[in-house]
């Protein structure tokens, strides 16, 4: 198996926590992993992204080539489109629908929605609302992960196990909230 994933969003949204869960699941399966990220600007409202590559064969490059990403998982709709040139033609975009408007010239959200609708395989989800409605307000990012599960090519229960290991030391309540969030995301899969 091989899955090349671009994770993106705005600093502070929890996008890299998703990468940790996927990485943990992949490691347990003895898959090869490479995950490159650009730090530093994440605290300051700038765009954040990570290239996460998992494979049953050794991986050479830490960076994904143009047209090489099987999945783009994004906490923000415009950020998902920033990496469009990296998406494979049959690749999936799984993104939050809520714009994060912290710049004066943020584009018209309808234009962004229209651009997303043009993608062959796309899931757009109001994860913030879904998180609030289901009593898991801090786990919107894990809802996104649940929606991306099939596209990632990782079995659902392996992601659940990874969540237990990653959040274990934060206590049972947090683990359960994230397990619930993963399930909510799964419902949104096509």
């Amino acid at each position: 198996m091989k899955t090349d994933i671009i994770l993106c969003g705005v600093g502070g949204q929890g996008i890299l926590s998703i990468a940790t869960i996927i990485g943990e699941a992949a490691m347990k399966e003895n898959l090869y992993i490479k995950q490159a990220e650009v730090h530093g600007m994440s605290q300051r409202g700038g765009d954040v992204q990570s290239n996460l590559r998992i494979s049953s064969n050794p991986i050479a490059s830490d960076l994904i080539a143009l047209g090489g990403a099987d999945v783009i998982i994004s906490m923000e709709p415009m950020e998902a489109l920033r990496y469009l040139p990296f998406l494979a033609k049959d690749g999936w975009i799984i993104t939050s629908s809520a714009p994060f408007v912290n710049i004066p010239n943020y584009p018209d959200i309808e234009a962004i929605k229209a651009d997303l609708a043009k993608i062959k395989n796309v899931i757009v989800l109001d994860i913030e609302q879904a998180a609030k409605d289901n009593g898991v307000p801090r786990s919107a990012n894990v809802i996104l992960l649940g929606a991306a599960q099939k596209a990632l090519g990782i079995e659902y229960d392996k992601l659940e196990d990874a969540i237990r290991r990653v959040f274990g030391r934060k206590g049972e309540a947090i683990v359960e909230a994230n397990i619930k969030a993963l399930a909510i995301g799964r419902e949104a899969q096509k």
Binding site: G40, G45, I59, A60, G68, K89, I103, P107, D108
Partner: protein, 535 residues
């Protein structure tokens, strides 16, 4: 034992497992995580490994030299421009030589993800005449640490290890040792004839160091990190160093048909390079950073092969490499991909909501509206973002500490008002000596030390001068009448603008210190407090 580690973390774990006694560093992206990993390591705590942040890279390098003098192993970490700051002790550590091993770990930043330039540290290794290692993978980075310390102690030379952002900040699974090596014992083997660089001794050392170069080169030829992998098609040969090797291998999932020379140890293994230039018609050189290898291989005289690389346009002259650039250089078709989306706009970083620097710039801008020719010399830190809208407050930012010294130079040239803005960590890093120059000459400048009690841009590390700034300024000779401390919050605007206006109109050195804790570290401390109270 297997661990999922950042390149930085692999280096840190490798150093600890090689019996490290001290890491000396100043925060700098993308090297910061090395020291943080050691600070958080239970093994390091158990062994009493030194890991507190240094005031700057020069003091870090010198302290490491002191530890090496006593026979123990030290690690110095910095970003590429940090090497400029410690160039004096760095170059002269080859002259003194080492007792306990020293690794100088420099993390370059091609494409300047968070730097002022993309200088290539390999030049420094050549300049200082020491071995340089450049790992191609996180596993290599880990393995190289133990070997670099052995090499350092064998040759009595510091070893430069060079990584780049995409190695430092990328995770992979690394196989680590189960049992770390013990630390070295303290010893008094260091000889004064090596360590006292009076000309009479230094000349002898210089002969020794220059004489060692052929040995270092032979070691590079024999090194397992430099591999000549032959290929069927000898029309083209490829030299790839460090992580460029990964991008090359990405282009050939079923194996490269051309001969490949992987370079991860310098000085350049000339014998292996000559084999390729003799064998192949064209040689493509893929290296991350500047055309360090390409320049040397091409030289001045024509050789057997035609050299292609960053200097001939096959690869871009500036910026980091990636698999797409390699594909293009090799004439490999890129797969189908989407065109960029036109509705996407840049999302530059901005000062956090509630940041004290915002209030400082608001006050400064208000006052400077009255002085249309004012110039504000900025410095390196979060407050550099004051250049961007809505503040557009600074006119320059060059290197650590340049705010104060440039303001003084501009004032010498006749500029008024000349304002400098500098952060607390940058001030102790390299601002104090500039302030002393200004005070000694009673320069007409206004210095703002925007103190958020941390080294913020790199993640909120401890700042060396916290609680000492007033005493430092007075100690340097600043008049108390022109040292003002303010709290940068909106309701204090009248007080702050009055202070700035008053000090601008004082024709001597003034220092204003707006002081309020960084929002990020404040939130972190509140969280920690809450967690502690729960227990």
């Amino acid at each position: 034992m297997k661990k999922l580690l950042l390149g930085d973390e692999a280096i840190a774990q490798g150093a600890l497992d090689a019996g490290l006694s001290g890491v000396y560093a100043y925060p700098g992206t993308p090297s910061t995580e090395i020291t943080e990993y050691i600070q958080d390591s239970p093994l390091a705590k158990e062994r009493g490994v030194h890991s507190r942040w240094s005031t700057n890279e020069k003091t870090a390098m010198e302290a490491a030299l002191g530890m090496s003098y006593m026979g123990k192993r030290a690690l110095v970490c910095m970003k590429h421009v940090g090497l400029n700051v410690c160039a004096d002790p760095f170059v002269n550590s080859a002259m003194t030589g080492t007792n306990g091993g020293i690794i100088v770990l420099v993390a370059d930043d091609p494409s300047m993800h968070s730097s002022q330039d993309e200088q290539d540290s390999r030049f420094y290794g050549k300049f200082a005449m020491i071995p340089t290692l450049e790992p191609s993978s996180q596993q290599e980075a880990y393995d190289m640490m133990a070997e670099a310390y052995e090499l350092s102690e064998q040759m009595h030379l510091p070893v430069l290890m060079r990584v780049t952002t995409r190695m430092a900040h990328s995770r992979a699974v690394v196989e680590v040792k189960d049992t770390p090596r013990e630390q070295n014992e303290l010893n008094y083997d260091a000889q004064a004839s090596n360590w006292v660089l009076l000309p009479a001794f230094a000349r002898k050392r210089n002969v020794v160091v220059t004489g060692q170069q052929p040995i270092l080169e032979q070691m590079a030829v024999d090194s397992k990190y430099n591999q000549y992998i032959d290929g069927k098609d000898h029309k083209l040969g490829i030299i790839a160093s460090g992580i460029a090797y990964n991008y090359l291998m990405e282009c050939f999932p079923n194996g490269c048909p051309y001969p490949v020379l992987k370079i991860s140890q310098y000085p350049l293994p000339k014998k292996l390079i000559r084999r390729m230039t003799d064998d192949c018609e064209y040689v493509l050189i893929a290296e991350e950073g500047q055309p360090f290898i390409e320049d040397q291989v091409r030289g001045v005289m024509p050789g057997n092969a035609v050299i292609k690389g960053r200097l001939t346009g096959e690869l871009p002259r500036t910026g980091e490499l990636n698999p797409d650039f390699l594909k293009k250089a090799l004439g490999i078709e890129s797969g189908e991909s989407y065109a960029p989306c036109e509705d996407v706009t840049p999302r530059p970083p901005a000062l956090c909501q509630g940041c004290g620097h915002r209030d400082v710039y608001t006050a400064l801008n208000e006052v400077l509206r009255e002085y249309p020719n004012a110039r504000v010399f900025g410095d390196i830190g979060c407050y550099t973002l004051g250049f961007l809208p809505p503040y557009k407050a600074i006119h320059s930012c060059v290197d650590m500490g340049a705010s104060i010294t440039m303001a003084k130079g501009a004032s010498d040239a006749g500029q008024w008002p000349a304002v400098a803005i500098i952060g607390d960590s940058t001030f102790t890093h390299s601002g104090m000596t500039g302030l002393l120059d200004a005070i000694n000459e009673n320069a007409d400048i206004t210095v703002i030390i925007s103190d958020n009690l941390t080294t913020a841009m790199t993640g909120g590390q401890d700042s060396a001068g916290t609680n000492k700034f007033e005493a430092i300024c007075k100690g340097l000779g600043l008049s108390e009448d022109h040292l003002k401390v303010v709290n940068p919050i909106p309701k204090n605007m009248p007080e702050i603008t009055a202070a700035i206006r008053e000090e601008i109109n004082y024709h001597g050195v003034s220092v204003i210190i707006p002081r309020r804790e960084c929002m990020q570290t404040l939130q972190r401390h509140l969280k920690q407090k809450k967690a502690a109270e729960k227990k």
